[in-house]
Amino acid sequence: MTTTRLLTVSSATTRRRPYGTVDKPRRSILLTVLTGIALVYSLIPLIWLFINASKTQSDLFSTFGLWFGGEFALFDNIGRALTYDDGIFLRWFGNTLLYVVVGAGGATLLAVLGGYALAKYDFPGKRAVFAVIIGAVAVPGTALAVPTFLMFSSMGLTDTPWSVIIPSLISPFGLYLMWTFASEAVPTELMEAARIDGASELRIFGQVALRLLAPGFVTVLLFTMVATWNNYFLPLIMLRDPDWYPLIIGLNQWNAQAATAGGTAIFDLVLTGSLLTIVPLIIAFLFLQRYWQSGLAAGSVKE
């Protein structure tokens, strides 16, 4: 999908072209520059973060924000961030990985199974399912947070990894994406053929459908990964013990430390920690872009 260009015809101001050029429109410098504004807007804060994560704390306060300070202290800062407070940052990183692998992995599995069911089977109550899910998404996090907290508290689950993992297992958007994707990607004829050959429904899913669902699977996995990696509200209320914090709760605590009486300001570590937190996700997006982008596009095919 990245190689073919669908558009475009020449605008009224340029000369008429034969219709073969619909596939290869002329590049426009003006449009590139204009879109470049959005690009600069998107990237400047990330560049700012990188530059300032490379500064010592004194340079951070005294030098211009969009250029490097006197010394390039990035590696020194990374070293200090990783070892600060007995290496708590690495512990938070490990927690985040645990929540992402189990939470986002589980959420993707449930969404794939459910989306496949909604796309490929007719069953009683199917129409009600979507209404219930969309309705539930509109309920604010806090409406769920307080009662979920109380429920989990009486079950003894708060302040354990389970209190973060279990709610992460549900991704209504993931289910929706898989639903639209599966209805396109898995031909009903193929399922019929497998049935005639005597395959069970489970086997059809495992050996026929799952392979076809792979791009959708990657797409949903990436979106649930981001959601879990970036989840702030849930761990904020569920966890008290810093040993179970995910990265961003820990980062926020580092930031708040400066505001508390007697706390040392560690803005340099907050910035370096922020950089270390976003790098893994950005790498995941870059490496898997071919898969998730085709998954998104296929999910949007109109019948």
């Binding site: 211009f64 309705g135 409406a143 947070a145």
Partner: protein, 308 residues
């Protein structure tokens, strides 16, 4: 993504009896069951519990007492709550159209095939979505700062006095900028994916007819991605009414501007976890959930009606 929820529910139904599996009409539930079970545990049960909580009040004398709809009556007369609702309403009316319009422009530009390095644009504009709200708010919060932020740098450099972006008057706009930055690329990608699947034959036909670029956008592209626009709008409405992360994190930077009831969600959180008013907090959250659902529903109905 092109079809909105209800339409999708229709269109994905098997076209004929042929599609019904030999396994029986309950087979689908077998696949849906794991999702459904966890969904009941983490969505349905807490919602029912919140409804139940909202009917009680914890009193100093007499403990937990059933008060019927008293909490709802109290919420309707609660100025702090409504100030928050109006604030997120204002946010919704200004930030969401700006963000979706910019996303649409970016998607149309990248899809036009007239950009140099379109693939790079697409990916780079999407990247902020991978940044956690906490990091985004910290980063922008730092940049907004007049003391050592980018705004402070500009003030020193040009010898000017830019308005304080963390002041009570401007902080909502500052948060709007952060949210726009976070989700511009995400919405762009949703629109872009929908644009990609428009059949080339339509453009070829338009080219033969000599249609202008603007006319192609208006007559072919926009109608084709209407479903995506509606879905993106609904997600944005839900997001606006649930605004929490950014104001919560920026509270330490702008304590005078961001009160504990700045947004309804922040209010509900503070009521529950710092004020110990669990019952009233549940009530506030339920009312917000209802308002959100009603508005999302109306938008979906309107968006779909025009499609017919």
């Amino acid at each position: 993504m092109t079809s909105a929820p209800t339409v999708t529910a229709e269109s994905v139904r098997p076209p004929s009896r042929r599609a019904r599996p030999a396994g029986g009409r309950w087979t689908g539930w077998g696949f849906l069951a794991p999702f459904a079970l966890v969904f009941v545990l983490v969505f349905i049960a807490p919602i029912l519990y919140a409804l139940w909580l909202s009917l009680f009040r914890n009193q100093l004398v007499g403990g937990n007492a059933f008060v019927g709809l008293d909490n709802y009556v109290a919420a309707f007369g609660d100025a702090a709550f409504w100030a928050g609702v109006i604030r997120v309403g204002l946010f919704l009316l200004i930030q969401v159209p700006i963000m979706l319009f910019l996303s649409l422009l970016a998607a149309l530009a990248i899809d036009s095939g007239r950009l140099y390095g379109a693939g790079f644009f697409r990916l780079a504009i999407f990247l902020p979505y991978a940044v956690p709200a906490v990091v985004a708010a910290l980063m922008w919060g730092f940049m907004y700062g007049t003391r050592f932020g980018l705004v402070g740098n500009l003030n020193d450099f040009f010898g000017v006095q830019l308005p304080n972006l963390l002041s009570p008057e401007l902080v909502l706009a500052s948060i709007g900028n952060i949210v726009t930055w976070e989700f511009l690329g995400y919405n762009m990608l949703i629109f872009y994916s929908a644009l990609r699947v428009i059949p080339t034959s339509l453009y070829e036909a338009a080219a033969i007819d000599g249609a202008s670029q603007f006319r192609i956008i208006r007559a072919i592209k926009l109608p084709a991605i209407r479903g995506s626009l509606v879905v993106a709008t609904i997600f944005s409405i839900i997001g606006s009414f649930q605004l929490f992360n950014e104001p919560s994190i920026m509270q330490s930077l702008a304590p005078n501007a961001i009160t504990t009831s700045f947004t309804p969600n922040l209010y509900a959180y503070n009521l529950a976890f710092t004020g110990q008013q669990l019952n009233y907090s549940a009530t506030v959250a339920i009312i917000m959930g209802l308002i959100t659902m009603i508005i999302a529903y109306v938008v979906q109905l309107r968006g779909m009606r025009k499609a017919d």
